[in-house]
């Protein structure tokens, strides 16, 4: 038994050194060649820096809205709502979101609102919305910014990221990039 304890202790510290030190250090070292030296990909505009993969709150009528978030897009933390599909309080909340959306988007029918706009993401930091969710907001953007709706639609189309390799996964729009492009118009 004693020999097992000795072997256990020595092996443990050796593997701590190999994995916590060697492995992490190796990946960190190679990571210095990665985008932004492995500190997260950023986008710069007008002297400000943003994270490409971290969603932001957009509630202003002049911007495309992001999805609802359980953490208010503060990436100090991350969480979903964890509401069950049959929870009555939750369903009321969804109904409220639909009503709010309808008020800000007159002339839109409910069947045009895609589910992602009225549900919270798993992380609370989702940087994307679906292409439908962007198109359905185009009319409002055009009105508040006094630009032709066709131009807004065109901007959205330009920002759609299709499936990976054109084959796998959903299409999506990065809300921050789309709004940055709007500001540059």
């Amino acid at each position: 038994m004693k020999t097992h304890i000795f072997s256990s202790i020595v092996l443990t510290f050796s593997f701590m050194l190999i994995t916590m030190g060697g492995y992490t250090g190796l990946v960190w070292g190679i990571g210095q060649l990665a985008p932004n030296q492995g500190k997260g990909i950023t986008i710069q505009q007008n002297g400000k820096s943003y994270y490409e993969n971290i969603g932001q709150t957009f509630s202003d009528d002049r911007y495309f809205w992001s999805r609802p978030s359980a953490v208010g897009y503060n990436a100090a933390g991350s969480a979903g709502s964890n509401k069950g599909p049959s929870n009555p309080d939750y369903l009321r909340q969804v109904q409220d979101r639909i009503d709010t959306f309808m008020v800000h988007h007159p002339g839109i029918s409910k069947a045009e609102i895609p589910a992602d706009l009225v549900t919270a993401s798993g992380s609370g930091l989702d940087p994307h919305i679906s292409p439908q969710a962007a198109y359905v907001q185009a009319g409002r953007i055009a009105r508040t910014r006094s630009i032709p709706e066709a131009e807004v639609q065109k901007l959205v189309s330009k920002h759609i990221e299709g499936p990976w390799l054109g084959l796998f996964g959903p299409s999506k729009v990065n809300v921050l990039e789309l709004n940055l492009a709007l500001d540059q118009q």
Binding site: S7, I41, P114, P170
Partner: protein
């Protein structure tokens, strides 16, 4: 065809295709035949064995194997407790996160030592980077324990009389140096170049385009995520696990994480075929596991893509699927696939919140963990299916009126008793634990545990206990679980749920290995046939249904029928 479904199909097929050569490699590693990494890893292993005074060629009997395994687990538990409770003054703490309370550290240390990774904290606020790295270390070594235990059982399946069971230290060390470490390095580098952070800098403060000041948590994420999946650990670096956009950057990283977590559970089945030279038997086991997996996963993909019927009634377009708790870049199909993959193989990582999946999807996630043998965790999946096999051999023997035999060894009362007790421990822990929790809630309605009322609230508690027993680690995360009741109760369930299902099969393997070898004859029950596969599958279905149907009725089924 829908691109979301195509993504799921592609990654499933790719996983199986890659697992076959990997399985052959794994078998070669454990058999000690020459492999590609010999020049690099050979000297390192030699040095490790030398300084820790291990004779890696010496055969151990099954009791000695278990002693070695338990003693190293004890050491890990003690060191991890010490680190987690002293993080606030130890180095690598750029965010100044506090140390853990004793009960939370107890739960977390056990949880990562046993390869479960149930997390009652959020990484952003609950751990320093030293704590994260410590847990990353455990993700390597706990996975290696499962693999080593599986190889010990493989040894007992080789049809020679009284063969040795090999050397635990040898299998444990090689699992890390030859399999887990090299593949993790590869995965982590790809993740890094996709934009996953690997830095020791702390939180960044940022002003959003609209003018809100927020913070962004970072850290050495990429190396952590690679081993978290490869070792079917599943513990998240961030609170939202692989739903977090920095822990799962894009669809490519999502597919890669699905691949990494599936590789070893699949490869171990094929490795068994190569190792014991019974490829037809391995293929039969693969068939049983795949059938179970597909029966659970297909309904989940379909249900999640259909969307929430309660929201459909509000008149909303649900063509994206049930998006509550899901990320747009992953999509509903991939999230449905992930929800079952992560539960059948005991990873427990999530790319969408299980608490918000549809009632029947939640039920399938629970069933996947209750069976825990449709592939199952890194190495331990083989051990779980081994128990089902022994029971199936016993029942078949009774049906045809012969002494049951398995791989040329008589299966007698002692082995069957161990198998039955191991199999029955799960329902006892899950139902006992859930009953106790439900009793607490009924008598103290003010307890701030449940995030959802009624049937779904019950499901949250059932899920937590099931996840702990299966060493899975996913959760219906709405449950308020960072308190002494849940920390201590699940901590105990975790320990039993880990070590009994390892000790049982290793003990059976040891007992069988010591018996006389009986050459195959006309009267031998063939264990590599379709019929026997059906027998194993039936045993799994009957055991699971009898044990858990009442509990599932109270939770997900009731929710489904009342929606």
């Amino acid at each position: 065809m829908n691109t979301e479904l195509l993504g799921v199909l592609a990654i499933f097929l790719l996983s199986v295709l890659l697992a076959i050569p990997l399985g052959r490699y794994v078998a070669r590693v454990y058999l000690g035949t020459p492999t590609l990494l010999d020049p690099v890893m050979g000297p390192l292993e030699k040095l490790l064995f030398q300084i820790s005074r291990i004779d890696a060629h010496r055969d151990m009997d099954w009791k000695e194997q278990l002693k070695a395994m338990l003693s190293i687990n004890l050491i890990w538990f003690l060191i991890t407790m010490a680190v987690l409770m002293n993080m606030s003054w130890l180095p690598l703490k750029p965010d100044g996160n506090p140390s853990m309370s004793a009960d939370l550290a107890f739960n977390t240390a056990i949880s990562f030592v046993v390869n479960c990774n149930l997390q009652h904290y959020s990484g952003e606020s609950g751990l320093s980077y030293l704590g994260q790295l410590m847990l990353m270390f455990l993700q390597f070594v706990s996975a290696a324990i499962g693999m080593a235990a599986a190889v010990i059982v493989f040894n007992s399946l080789r049809d020679q009389q009284s063969t040795g069971l090999g050397n635990f230290w040898n299998y444990f060390t090689k699992s890390i140096t030859r399999i887990l470490l090299p593949v993790s390095v590869l995965g982590a580098i790809i993740f890094t170049f996709q934009g996953m952070p690997v830095t020791l800098e702390g939180k960044d403060t940022m002003v959003s385009l609209q003018g809100d000041t927020v913070q962004v948590s970072r850290g050495p994420v990429a190396p952590f995520v690679a081993i978290k999946h490869l070792g079917t650990n599943g513990g998240g670096f961030f609170g939202a696990n692989s739903a977090h956009p920095l822990e799962n950057i894009n669809y490519l990283t999502n597919e890669l994480q699905l691949l990494l977590q599936f590789l070893i559970p699949l490869a171990m089945v094929f490795a068994m075929g190569y190792f014991v030279k019974k490829r037809k038997f391995a293929l039969m086991i693969f068939g049983v596991m795949t059938l179970g997996f597909l029966i659970l996963v297909i309904p989940n993909i379909y249900t999640e893509m259909q969307g929430n019927p309660a929201i459909s009634q509000m008149g909303i377009d649900q063509s994206l699927g049930a998006m509550e708790g899901k990320e747009v870049r992953n999509g509903a199909a991939s999230s449905g696939y992930w929800s079952i993959l992560t539960t059948v193989i005991s990873t427990g990582s999530v790319n969408a919140m299980h608490d918000s999946t549809m009632p029947l999807s939640g039920m399938n996630e629970l069933l996947a963990m209750m069976v825990n043998g449709f592939f199952g965790g890194c190495g331990v999946g083989i051990l779980n299916i081994y128990i089902y096999i022994i029971i199936a051999v016993f029942i078949s023997g009774l049906m045809v009126g012969r002494t049951p035999e398995f791989m040329g060894k008589k299966v007698e009362a002692r082995e069957v008793k161990i198998a039955m007790l191991t199999a029955l421990l799960s329902p006892l822990l899950i139902m006992g634990g859930t009953a106790l929790a439900a009793w607490m809630v009924v008598n103290n309605p003010d307890l701030p545990w449940l995030n959802n009322p009624s049937f779904h609230g019950f499901s949250e508690m059932l899920y937590e206990m099931t996840s702990a027993n299966a060493n899975n680690g996913s959760g219906f995360e709405g449950l308020g679980d960072n308190n002494p009741f849940w920390n201590i109760s699940t901590g105990i369930v975790l320990l039993f749920g880990r070590f009994i299902p390892i000790i049982g099969p290793v003990a059976i393997a040891g007992l069988l290995a010591g018996k006389k070898f009986i050459p195959e004859s006309a009267g031998t029950l063939k264990t590599d046939t379709l019929t026997f596969g059906a027998m194993i599958f039936s045993v799994i279905v009957i055991l699971t249904a009898l044990s858990y149907f009442p509990a599932l009725t109270l939770g997900p089924l009731a929710e489904y029928f009342t929606m």
